[in-house]
């Protein structure tokens, strides 16, 4: 790796100031995406701003109707959290499926959501549950946050501090893993609330998206067989060495059914 300056601020405003004052500097969370990028010299930031000393970004709390997860909370902690397991088991299951144990020790929910990899798992959970992204500046609804391929509504110098999830009646996640990377070839998150069902898909296209026909069918009748005949259009889906668009479209229906089944357990 190329040498670069390293900052470990202990206050959020100091981190934001460093980020805006040093051009091209980068926030470092768990480093599970950023460090491989730096090692391959795909990025060369002059400085890293390490978020690990900002204590207020860690931890999980709940108030009955919502669960709030600090941005620096590692995947393994979410997967093992008794609170998340009790209130949103589908989200704990999602976290337990990310990467491998070493990735889950270090990788964080904030880093994953900020990075918005088209095949990452958390974006499906965040959009599927209609969560709120809390930043150093404001609150952003999931529906407004994910803007496609590695793009989010975050502005320069904006830091995710936590994600707030409404507690659903039921929720489930299913993913078809890309065998080598374990990222989602297709992953689907299904969540049932008193006022309807949300279905969010990751891996299939350039960014996470919802499937309104499946949401309508499941809102009428939360029976996974109700969506077995709903096929999504291949337009705009990804075709690459791992899978063609029509295979991904097929997997969306299969994974949505499995996510529905998981929600019913």
């Amino acid at each position: 790796m190329k040498p670069c300056a390293y900052h470990q601020p202990v206050q959020i405003p100091d981190a934001a100031k460093l980020l805006t004052s040093i051009e091209d500097s980068k926030l470092l969370a768990g480093g599970m995406t950023l460090i491989p990028t730096l090692k391959q010299r795909l990025a060369n930031p002059p400085a890293l701003v390490d978020l690990s000393r900002l204590g207020s970004l860690k931890g999980i709390s709940g108030d009955g109707a919502t669960i709030t997860i600090g941005a620096m909370t590692p995947h393994a902690v979410v997967a093992a959290s008794k609170l998340v397991q009790a209130k949103i088991p589908g989200l704990a299951a999602l976290a337990s499926m990310i990467g491998d144990p070493a990735v889950r020790s270090r990788g964080t929910i904030g880093g994953s959501v900020a990075n918005n990899d088209p095949a990452a798992d958390y974006p499906a959970g965040v959009l599927g549950l209609g969560a709120t992204i809390i930043t150093s500046m404001r609150e952003i609804a999931a529906d407004e946050f994910f803007l496609g391929l590695f793009e989010t509504a975050l502005e320069a110098g904006e830091i995710i501090t936590a994600i707030r999830f409404p507690v659903p009646l039921r929720a489930g996640y299913a993913k078809f893993k890309a065998p080598a990377s374990r990222y989602a070839l297709v992953g689907v998150f299904v969540a049932k609330f008193a006022d309807g069902v949300r279905v969010a898909v990751t891996g299939a296209g350039p960014g996470v998206f919802r499937v309104p026909p499946m949401e309508a069918a499941l809102s009428l009748n939360f029976d996974p067989s109700a969506i077995a005949a709903i096929k999504i259009d291949t337009d705009g889906l990804t075709s690459d060495i791992h899978a063609e668009a029509d295979y991904r479209a097929h997997l969306v229906t299969v994974m949505a059914k499995r996510a529905g089944d998981a929600a019913l357990v």
Binding site: P3, C4, Y6, M32, K39, D50, G99, P101, S105, R106
Partner: protein
């Protein structure tokens, strides 16, 4: 910058460039070459060590993270005090032929010990899921899984469970 941490039970202070990977620090500055580097993409797990008891990829960890932490590398694995034996997980790998060339073995062992420490009754499915981040080009994994199950049982027995 100066960093102080506990390395295999010993207080250690080093002077490093902040952008140093822990795997490089261990191998090149501290001469602990048991931790292997098998890939450049954070995927193979040959470099796994324990940071405050958790398995992490030392090739994807920057040295400043170590400040105040406790690091255990393959060199720090040991059998019962005074027994003059290897760690039960190492013994199990030898007994059950859990390695061929041995390149992946340090990372396999560190991941396996973490798995067995985290959960008492490991199933074969737990072991296979737990080893997803460790790549072996020789064994076909079968004997590694057998070794981890046996090593975990031996670790539990040693704890009297």
């Amino acid at each position: 910058m100066q960093i102080s941490f506990t390395l295999n039970g010993r207080p250690t202070t080093v002077d490093v460039e902040p952008a140093t990977l822990v795997a490089e620090l261990l191998r090149e500055q501290l001469n602990l070459t048991g931790t292997h580097i098998g890939c450049d993409t954070s995927q193979c797990g040959a470099c796994v060590v324990h940071l405050d008891g958790l398995p992490v990829k030392s090739c994807t960890l920057l040295a400043p993270t170590l400040e105040g932490a406790t690091l255990l590398t393959i060199e720090g694995l040991e059998g019962a005090p005074g027994s003059n034996r290897m760690h039960p997980m190492q013994e199990a790998f030898r007994e059950h032929h859990g390695l061929q060339c041995g390149f992946c073995t340090p990372g396999m062992l560190m991941t396996a010990v973490a798995l067995a420490t985290e959960k008492k009754d490991l199933t074969e499915a737990d072991v296979r899921h737990g080893l997803e981040g460790n790549i072996c080009r020789c064994t076909g994994y079968q004997n590694i899984v057998v070794s981890v199950m046996a090593g975990a049982a031996a670790m539990n027995a040693a704890k009297g469970e």
